[in-house]
């Protein structure tokens, strides 16, 4: 505490009735200590109201509504789950890939509920990192916070490679055959463009994102309605049913581990929790709502895709298999609609993830786990150029590998560890019940939901490829090393105001 030099603000604000006796709570220490550079966590006392956060000298407007939150969640998720994974998943698990996606949805839901509760109790930027560092302490916080950065970087690289496949396919649809050799260069180019645009672009793309998501959803629902009727034989030739799980049950789980990347978006909603209007209502609705919406869409898509084309053929085509499903169902216009949808969807996924990455970096840098420089904002564009660069640089390196499956699985690995710890954090907080913990939304089915959520998150990690597990574990060990070197003396557990 004595290190807190800025503005000399007294934490006890006599006028705020909103915060229940936070000032006199003895047990939880406010964030304190210093990192190796002598920087202390930024501990500006903040009062949250539904419309704005209020600090001593300024107000931070909350501007993202429910539709904005849903657009972030759905917009991030839909690109991967519908436009990249169906082919790969069907190739590994057969028509039972629908079950894998269903399993992923259930696990995501088991985590989304505890995350919602924590987010309404602590509506701050940083999402899962913030909850874990405040509930479990600095080491788990540092591991999750920095891993979240890496996880989002891997996820973004994965979306970008997906975009590359769709770009090449779009060219093919237009009669220009360039071959898959151009996938990675195109993805690199686009990744660099997204980063630069985020640093220099001051136009608000949020409304555009909402529009893209609405457009995608309507294309998909129309497409699935037609395809679904076709699959059950209402019109067209009845398709020959194939064996549901031709490769047995184990691939269902390994595929679930792979495709779990399609559900990472709901935690992205938590990273903007500090900017959501009426967080008590909108955060749970946006997180749970987006998981339910995309979960249903994914399962339906796999069902339609495997019925229309057959899982062996889907697996052979791989990343852009949905284009052939579109052609099978609706001819050339169908293929074109899917190609354009895939471009838009992977683009919006990549963009939303870059934004989340920069917020994740800000959250850990604010708490002195990374150098303060990482969260600098430039006055020219008003953007956090350092954090965006720390997102964009590694993304390009990873894109260059072009390894779709490994990228996706490492992203899932790093996120799943975070999800498991979020569930643990919920149980810990419910048991300790500190004074500052006052969530507006309470997880139904406690303690079964968070316990199941934690167990299934950790279990899913076990079904991944060995390479992904090794890379993921190595990254987490590296974050432990960073913590030991850089931020051992920082203490983050508890909330002061």
């Amino acid at each position: 505490m004595p290190t807190h030099s800025s503005s000399g603000s007294d934490v006890s604000n006599p006028a705020d009735g909103d915060v229940p006796d936070a000032a006199e709570a003895p047990a939880p220490e406010p964030p304190s200590g210093e990192n190796v550079e002598g920087t202390a966590p930024d501990t500006e006392p903040t009062v949250e109201t539904p419309e704005a956060d209020v600090t001593d000298d300024s107000e931070l407007e909350r501007t993202i509504g429910l539709s904005g939150g849903l657009a972030i969640g759905i917009g991030t998720m839909i690109g991967a789950g519908i436009f990249v994974f169906p082919g790969i998943a069907a190739g590994e698990a057969g028509p039972a890939a629908a079950l894998s996606f269903g399993l992923g949805a259930v696990i995501a839901l088991l985590v989304a509920l505890p995350t919602s509760e924590l987010a309404t109790a602590m509506p701050k930027s940083g999402g899962g990192y913030y909850f874990i560092s405040r509930a479990l302490g600095t080491l788990p916080g540092a591991v999750v916070g920095i891993s979240l950065w890496f996880g989002l970087v891997f996820a973004t690289a994965f979306y970008l490679v997906g975009f590359g496949y769709y770009a090449v396919d779009t060219l093919a649809q237009l009669g220009v055959t360039v071959g898959e050799g151009l996938v990675v260069p195109i993805a690199l180019l686009f990744g660099a463009a997204v980063t630069v645009l985020n640093v220099t672009g001051t136009e608000n793309a949020a409304k555009l994102q909402n529009g893209i998501v609405a457009l995608l959803l309507s294309i998909l629902v129309a497409f699935l309605a037609y395809g679904g009727l076709d699959a059950v034989g209402v019109f067209g030739a009845e398709s020959a049913p194939e064996q549901f799980a031709p490769f047995g049950t184990v691939p269902i789980f390994t595929t679930a581990a792979l495709v779990f990347t399609s559900y990472l978006g709901f935690a992205q909603v938590a990273t903007v929790a500090g900017e959501m209007k009426q967080p008590a209502r909108n955060l749970p609705l946006a997180m749970v709502g987006s998981v339910v919406v995309v979960g249903v869409l994914y399962v339906a898509t796999i069902f339609v895709a495997t019925s229309a084309v057959g899982s062996g053929e889907l697996g052979r085509i791989g990343e852009t298999a949905m284009v052939d499903v579109g052609r099978e169902l609706l001819g050339a216009p169908g293929a074109l609609a899917i190609v354009l949808g895939g471009l838009l969807a992977t683009m919006s996924s990549a963009n939303a993830s870059v934004l989340s990455t920069s917020r994740a970096i800000y959250a850990v840098s604010k708490d002195a786990l990374l150098p303060k420089r990482a969260s600098r904002v430039n006055l020219r564009w008003g953007t956090p150029h350092v954090a965006l660069g720390l997102a964009g640089g590694p993304i390009l390196v990873l894109v260059a590998t072009g390894q779709v499956q490994v990228l996706a699985e490492v992203a899932s690995f790093l996120h799943l560890v975070q999800y498991g710890l979020i569930c643990v954090a919920l149980v810990v907080l419910r048991r300790e019940d500190p004074d500052w913990y006052d969530p507006d939304f309470r997880t139904p089915g406690y303690p079964f939901v968070p316990v199941l959520g934690a167990l299934s998150s950790f279990a899913l990690v076990g079904f991944m490829q060995r390479t992904s597990q090794v890379v993921g574990a190595a990254l987490m060990l590296a974050t432990v090393g960073w913590w030991a070197y850089y931020a051992r003396d920082v203490s983050l557990r508890g909330v002061s105001s």
Partner: protein
């Protein structure tokens, strides 16, 4: 007391002209410093870096308003949405009008467009408070189609008579035009400032931006926008506030008998500031400024 919100893009070095400060010397002023951030930037991140700089600039501006003669406090907001923040803070401090700053010297004449569906009573009441006993001319302006030009003119004459009775020297000007905005812009030369009413959001304002900002873009001088009456349904939070205010007013009435009127005024001031957290600072500024209210409008 009539309160005017003066939003200032403080980190973009937006300045408030001396003419506007002197014009507002009869008002309570809340200077709202704001920075609009792109969506890439969490407001908290910008706060961490710019709060000190912005606050010291705001304190200077508020001090200049006080020196010009009025009472002034300040707020600072980091936002993705300028309009949302201005509306929220205006509700919060119960502002009757907000200002769009512009360059002007001493304000001797004000143009008041009354075309269309605006709340004339609120505008007249605001003008009366704004001008006080100063020697400032008012031009009431309306554009009308040929057919109802006479009706519009006589309506304006009525308003002019009402306003005239309260002090200011009033002239009436009408234009025959199908394009009210263009007619208004043509009428601007010769006037130093514009006072206009806020309109309800319409399809047009969604497409082109709201009228006040289009007028401000065309005129060099400052524009004061008199806010609409807030609908109770529109903002449930505001509703709760109103209730609270009503209560305190009742308390006040019952307390008047107890011969405690001066203290009571201060009480009412503090309860009508609804944001709990800002209460302390606002209250302090308001009280400190109470003494300055009677200063001569010529200020420094």
């Amino acid at each position: 007391m009539t309160r005017v919100l003066v939003p200032v893009a403080v980190l973009e070095s937006e300045a408030v002209s001396l003419g506007l400060m002197n014009l507002l010397s009869t008002m309570d002023v809340t200077v709202l410093g704001y920075q609009v951030l792109p969506e890439q930037t969490p407001p908290d991140q910008a706060r961490a870096q710019y709060e000190d700089r912005a606050t010291s600039a705001l304190e200077d501006i508020a001090e200049e308003f006080r020196q010009a003669g009025g009472d002034a406090d300040h707020r600072l907001v980091f936002t993705h949405d300028r309009k949302q923040s201005i509306d929220r803070v205006a509700d919060d401090v119960d502002a009757n009008a907000y200002a769009i700053t512009g360059a002007t010297g001493a304000v001797d004449s004000i143009l008041v467009p009354l075309t269309g569906d605006v709340d004339v009573d609120r505008i007249v009441a605001f003008l009366t408070d704004l001008i006080g006993d100063r020697d400032i001319d008012v031009t009431l302006f309306a554009a009308a189609s040929e057919a109802n030009a006479d009706a519009v003119r006589s309506a304006l004459e009525d308003v002019a008579a009402d306003l005239d009775a309260r002090g200011p020297a009033v002239t009436v000007e009408t234009a025959t035009s199908q394009r009210p905005l263009e007619a208004l812009v043509d009428a601007i030369p010769g006037h130093d400032a514009i006072v206009m009413g806020e309109r309800a959001p319409s399809l047009q304002s969604l497409v082109f931006g709201d009228e006040a900002h289009r007028v401000a873009a065309e005129s060099v001088g400052p524009v004061l926008v008199v806010r609409r009456e807030r609908e109770p349904d529109a903002a449930p939070e505001l509703d709760a506030d109103d209730d609270r205010n009503d209560e305190s007013t009742l308390d006040e009435e019952s307390a008047v008998d107890d011969d405690a009127a001066p203290d009571d005024d201060a009480d009412r001031d503090s309860t009508s500031t609804d944001e709990a957290t800002d209460e302390a600072t606002d209250e302090a500024t308001e009280r400190a400024g109470d003494g300055g209210d009677g200063d001569s409008p010529t200020g420094r």
